[in-house]
Symmetry: C2
Subunit: 317 residues, 2 copies
């Protein structure tokens, strides 16, 4: 839209189940307004709260930059939960009501922002592994492919949840065999502040408000046990890395990528010293493993610029 | 207590998370009173409701047989949830208050009743596989060994839940590979009354009041797909049978049994035509696989008679 010497101004939005972040930025990454708001995922918030989130975002950006707001070229919102078409239609209707006619917008899965936070808008794959897991790829023709992300009750292989669950399973298998004193079992007992019998943690888990988050948090304990040489912890982490590599390869099977950039996003890669070498070991194809270079909301800015045929050229490296 | 020609009268109680059954019986299995009441498992009912359950049981038995109630020799209650010592102590205090001093009683895990419903009081192993799974054994010295039963978030290998979860996992792995038209996938879609995209079942599962029961119910669909020749269904059921055989063997490792009787209890064995041959294939030791011969509450009667050194000798075969 703007060409030559004129700046483009875009809004990038990164939204999830607990918080949503938005920035008004130009193509150099210069941020003119920033808003932090509540959830934007209909799977975790009410319709009212999500309306409130976007009302806040657009009105605060306008308040912070009334002049620039008149010159927005594009808005890209990468939001979790929008793979569900009912959710997506609700958000689209909401955007139409709030900013329809003022500037064009696109609502997409938040995996897009995550990908572009590592590839700066290039095609590639993002493998997310936090509490849950999902793989997502975009090829040179902007075809998209998602793998996994079916949630903790069905899959989420390679996620923090899967690691925590595997840890519980293995320590109770040892328990059943009267081999209760492993490094991992002791650390998990300590984590739950159990002084007596390990099986006393069972009611704690089932009565937890969110067993999912509780179990996922155990993945940190598994890394700790791995650092101390526990062989079960090693097997569990290797299994997770293997599952993540399978997810990546399923996307590569779906469409060939000349440049096999794989962005790794999520809490699991805080321990990239452990997970990256394991991933490299299991991947059958030569991939370039990348950790995010900018925040995901800047990934949304990049996606917005891409929609108006502009490239993101950061001011400083 | 009674010897020679005198009859013994015992109360047998079989209790779980949704209902509790009690009978007043003699050693021939002749039932003089029968009461059906609510839950007796503190993990699923309030303290008040469980007090109500046992109040109802003892007062109704007394009402039905005021004369015989004066001559009860023993009461055995096999109740789920009593592996937790807090729960067990609560039930023991309750029994003391309700019938203490009137007759002796013993509170145990409900796996004991399940075992004796197949072995008539002989040592052996019971492998339970319904929504959840647990293995339990008693040797000739009345030593006990439990394996598994850690619940759906941790283990329950070989259970209906594990089968349903494996089925969901495999159909969505195929979905990710664009192979959506398998027998199993179609039957699961039909079960959830999905006409469009298979992924529309995902919110149904996560928003279900009890995802655990919902997923476990899918095991019936897996058997249906197996009957129609689906290879995934076959692998899933074989994995379950293998896990159940491992559970049985872990108990045999714990203590040797001269007579390797294995009682198979729970909804999974409704399809014993499928599961029994698979179990026989995976078991490394020669076991006698038995389906229950009497109801579990009669298993409790047998356990009560055993406590007073009486044998259960059913009137008719």
């Amino acid at each position: 839209m703007n060409g030559g010497n004129f700046m483009s101004y875009v809004i990038g939005i990164d939204g999830g189940g607990t918080k949503t972040e938005a920035v008004l930025s130009d193509e150099t990454g210069q941020v003119y307004a920033r808003v932090l708001a509540g959830p934007s995922n209909l799977n975790s918030g009410s319709r009212e709260s999500i309306e409130g989130t976007f009302l806040k975002i657009f009105s605060e950006i306008k308040n912070q930059q009334p002049e620039l707001f008149q010159h927005i070229d594009y808005c890209f919102a990468g939001l979790s939960g929008t793979e569900n078409h009912v959710n997506k239609e609700f958000i689209e209707a909401l955007f139409k009501r709030l900013v329809g006619g003022q500037f064009p917008y696109l609502i997409e899965h938040d995996a897009v922002n995550a990908l572009y936070s590592g590839t700066f808008g290039e095609p590639g794959i993002v493998q997310i592994a936090g509490t849950g897991s999902i793989g997502f790829g975009i090829d040179q023709h902007l075809n998209k492919k998602r793998v996994g992300g079916w949630g903790y009750l069905i899959g989420d292989e390679g996620s923090g949840y899967a690691i925590g669950r595997d840890a519980l399973q293995v320590i109770f298998q040892h328990y059943d065999r009267n081999q209760k004193e492993t490094i991992l079992a002791n650390l998990i007992g300590k984590y739950f502040e159990i002084s007596g019998d390990l099986k006393d943690i069972v009611p704690t888990i089932y009565q937890a408000e969110s067993p999912r988050n509780h179990i996922s948090a155990l993945s940190k304990v598994v890394f700790e046990a791995f650092d101390m040489g526990d062989t079960d912890a090693k097997s569990i982490l290797q299994r997770a890395a293997k599952d993540l590599s399978k997810s990546i390869e399923m996307i590569l099977e779906h469409f060939p990528l000349s440049n096999k950039q794989v962005v790794l996003v999520g809490g699991l890669f805080n321990r990239n010293d452990v997970i990256l070498p394991m991933l490299e070991h299991f991947l059958n194809e030569e991939c370039e493993l990348i950790l995010p270079k900018v925040e995901p909301v800047i990934g949304s800015v990049i996606a917005a610029l891409q929609q108006i045929n502009q490239k993101y050229i950061p001011l400083q490296k």
